[in-house]
Symmetry: D2
Subunit: 136 residues, 4 copies
């Protein structure tokens, strides 16, 4: 299993009149978690795009347990529990507040897609190499 | 069952470098669908808030089948399949493009919450009255 | 002078804990105003992009006079006061609420840019033709 | 003069099909710059709100010189050039990319407002004390 943590500070723009983060904005926090987990592995999402591979999200499930509030420093925990063996990659993601309370649990499924051909692709070899270390 | 349809035009701001709507922005389209379905029933979400009732989202599931693109005129279909009998209300929502292709399928679960007491509440009587007509 | 009006409903996602529209989100309303004014003229912004012309914003000035609130049905007034004679086009835009109160005044300057060459371009002939009718 | 610097990483959600940051999203970066400058001074914007003071933006001017792109690590420079002597506070803000190129220049004017009374207020004494050190 590969696991990664990063933090994000809640912006005023991301909160709503209930004084909590708008439910759609957690998708951005999950994005930050995935992007930084890629960066720690040694390749950025930008590099993946430059290889002609896109990673559209095909499924998103979120449970909102407790609200995140303005100015909270959130911890985003991102896990890849299974080494991708085809065009699919699944992230299990959790968001915690500064007191360590679990706020949000999410699952994000993405497809590797060949940008030019427009069809499903395998995970780039560089990425497989870096990631497989965690699944031996 | 109660069913409602409304439309929304995709904004440039909502699309990303893949030239498609960013995956987190569908939450806003679903919100528009729910809000307009409430309005058609004869009470606005604003009125619910003025009654001291909040409706936070507690669960969101989305499947992204086909991308929505800039300037697409999307149809948002919102269904309430079961009359709420406690603090929970579930919307099944679908998004179609102008050619009638199904792009996105979502399920959004919300809780009625008493804003002052901070705990779960029943659906406001006015809302129950208007909605129950569709479940006889 | 060319003038156009359209409406937009304030989304919950666009408001903040002050219970008003977040100051950065007016840029999206102004975008809706410009896009719909183009559409009424007989060509969509999408068509301009397909001609290989991009329209990046190079300057934005906004004065916030009164707040827009959740669920307000806003009227966006967009004016082109001078027929573009080079790569620049300027929109003067205003936002009103349902009571006719002026909420926001903005000026947005954009450049016509050739997407491939990456440099400034003239307004597409089709657009000039449609627009010049209003400046005779 | 008081000056402060912080950084922000461009999110995929914040970019558009031109592969650059959407023009309205710079308002969020400027917000991050102001909030972090307050924090460095020894009080958070959250504390100001808890004192019953709101800080709505009343004017925003932005010049877009060069585009910010996906995954860019931006530096936000925020200056308070004049010590507020009434209800107004003005931030001059600039955004630079990693190569030190100036991308965006902005001016943001805000009002101190008493949340309960709904009228203009003076800068909170704590804030005046911390800030005046830089203007002797």
């Amino acid at each position: 299993m590969y696991e990664h943590q990063t933090t994000v500070r809640v912006r005023y723009a991301e909160t709503d009149p209930m004084n909590v983060v708008y439910y759609g904005n957690y998708a951005q926090y999950f994005e930050v978690g995935r992007v930084e987990s890629f960066r720690e592995l040694g390749f950025s999402y930008k590099i993946i795009e430059e290889l002609g591979i896109m990673l559209p999200v095909v499924e998103l499930n979120i449970k909102y347990l407790r609200p995140a509030r303005y100015d909270d420093l959130l911890t985003i925990k991102s896990q890849i529990r299974n080494l991708p063996i085809d065009h699919r990659i699944v992230f299990d993601q959790e968001i915690y507040n500064e007191e360590g309370k679990l706020l949000t649990v999410g699952m994000v499924k993405l497809y590797f897609m060949d940008e030019k051909l427009g069809n499903r692709a395998a995970m780039p070899p560089l990425m497989l190499e870096k990631l497989s270390v965690y699944f031996s």
